[in-house]
Symmetry: C2
Subunit: 362 residues, 2 copies
């Protein structure tokens, strides 16, 4: 598939849906991606299996608090700068790029860099969603040390970080993101094609494009979207799709802390036929409770769409009074192993709750 | 001069004196320097004027809160790791090393790296004292961008930072130091010999050695030390030497904040013939007030020694009940220009006070 500017809105909508509220608002990223694809030409989206085993694949994307990226605008050069800084450091150039998370703006930023450099993008990513920290990628869970990694800001300041493990890399680069104003751009996890085939979740960019199409085709028709979504997810690595509730946002508690947007939203059921739902987030929506009953938790996906427009709503944009549908999707199996849950289970985010697969909670 | 392990105690004592309370406690650094000089051989201390104009000179030292370095012990490899990381990045190797600040442990750490690598150390530094931030070096005041710079921790994690200006480099590396546990080791400010001749304060390592000798020779004799110190400082770039007071520490307020030790000490005059003195510090002693009367301020040096032993006391070691002498020394002229005072004057540390040269306050 050749990705052009015409594909970007659908990819952006689908990415934002799979981002479970985080991953950065895609508005500015979509403008950038369209401009770069129009200026430098279409980008090849290549299936994972077509990737050469010897290829050098580099992951790019943004790090930081999504709320900040709404006001701290990029200049469009950051992805290339980060990529070049990493390439200089490792002494190899990228043969293909991959999004470390499909969610939100990060899939789009991959196309910005790819268009600028004339490189293909792999139809896969390292999360199948968005998650707030680097050790939560499937790359890291498969044992890939994400460093050396290069981070840059919009002024051309940069740092190339080499860490003994991905948790340390996360801590170092999160603090650098803070010093760069709360948000920065990264090139990381240089891998061989063979490793990417093991460590990435396949087909997620194409999936975003199809989900985005379904979102657009079913404006004002959440049941229609849900039916189409269920069909789209069936052949993928993801699990079951379910609508947790329809509700109204009656409270939003949100603060920007340690380089993250952190908080809780409270949803009142439109039919008043049950208790309020509290959804906690750290960039991404992570835990949905009704009173003390667990309804869904990370790594399963908790996605929120506007009931009227079916637009995905991000944690930095959600606000009092919105009518929303909460949709949960089972995580790919790779995130359900004991090892993966040590990196992405609810306890990793400070919740005193064990992970229970979504299908057991229904 | 060939520096051997036998010189280190005197250099450490003199460095600690010129460090004005900061620059890191020299105890561990002196042990390291002695071990490395004994293991790898003596190090040439070369006068600034003997430096080749084309030589590559790199500054090394520690960054962070001195209090933390009392418990977060180095493994001795950090200086070499930082140096090698920077050399790899810039594609040149060092011909000589220089301390970015003579103060406290940093002069000693320069000898650790120099011994390990068989490199000479330049008899000069970038502060003639210690100061808490990178844009406060005479290198930076002379327009040297301190980056690329490499910072490492004791586990082998590293970051190579490139910044548009030294203030940004300071902010980025300070945050990295925080992520590395509050303290890290740096190699920075790669300069030509010609630049170092313009930008460094000459003769400061040798001066530390002589001050250390005077401190040792005058144990229990503060007036004797003061007389010898005045003689030693006369031919240097430093200004007048004066004893501000003899007092007892009656209060210490200290917190570790933003990667610095920050606080105030209160000294009661031993003769009770005047008001208490309040000395504020950010790693280094920066401002001495009696009631609201300014007695001395940064960039002039405020040095505190134990009245009984003439040992310099650092801001992380000072404690209730100590009997101390407060000695002030005029800063070298390079720190008294308007441009320099914009980087190192009292207002840079949040004090609502203009700099008044020490000799005008007497």
């Amino acid at each position: 598939m050749k990705v052009t500017a015409a594909h970007i809105d659908a990819i952006a909508a689908g990415s934002s849906f799979l981002a479970t509220g985080g991953g950065g608002d895609p508005y500015v990223g979509a403008l950038l991606a369209k401009t770069f694809l129009e200026t430098f030409g279409a980008v090849d989206l290549i299936p994972l299996e077509r990737l050469d085993d010897e290829a050098t694949v580099i992951a790019v994307g943004g790090i930081g608090a999504p709320l900040i990226s709404l006001e701290k605008l990029p200049n469009g050069g950051e992805q290339s700068w980060a990529l070049e800084a990493l390439e200089r450091h490792i002494g190899r150039t990228a043969d293909a790029l991959i999004a470390f998370e499909v969610g939100g703006v990060n899939s789009l930023l991959t196309f910005v860099a790819a268009a600028r450099r004339g490189l293909p993008v792999v139809d896969a990513d390292g999360m199948g969603r968005a998650l707030p920290e680097m050790q939560m990628t499937t790359f890291s869970i498969h044992g890939v040390n994400g460093t050396p990694m290069a981070v840059v800001d919009e002024h051309g300041n940069s740092a190339v970080v080499t860490a003994q493990d991905t948790e340390t890399a996360e801590r170092l680069t999160r603090n650098i993101a803070l010093a760069m104003g709360g948000q920065c751009t990264s090139a990381e996890s240089a891998m061989t094609g063979a490793t990417v085939k093991q460590a990435a979740i396949p087909g997620t960019i194409g999936l975003c494009h199809r989900i985005g199409g379904a979102l657009t085709a079913n404006r004002n028709d959440t049941p229609g979207f849900l039916a189409e979504l269920t069909e789209l997810m069936a052949p993928t690595a993801f699990g079951c799709v379910t609508r947790l509730m329809d509700g109204k946002v009656v409270d939003v508690l949100r603060r920007t802390e340690g380089g993250f947007d952190v908080g809780t939203i409270v949803l009142q059921r439109l039919d008043r036929a049950g208790p309020d739902m509290r959804i906690s987030f750290q960039n991404e929506f992570l835990l949905a409770l009704e009173d003390s009953a667990l309804r869904a938790s990370v790594p399963d996906l908790i996605c929120i769409v506007d009931s009227e427009t079916t637009r995905p709503i991000t944690s930095d944009r959600i606000r009092y009074g919105q009518r929303v549908a909460v949709i949960a999707i089972g995580a790919p199996e790779v995130y359900r192993s004991d090892r993966a849950l040590e990196a992405v289970g609810p306890r990793c985010f400070g919740f005193d709750v064990d992970y229970v697969p979504l299908e057991h909670l229904l």
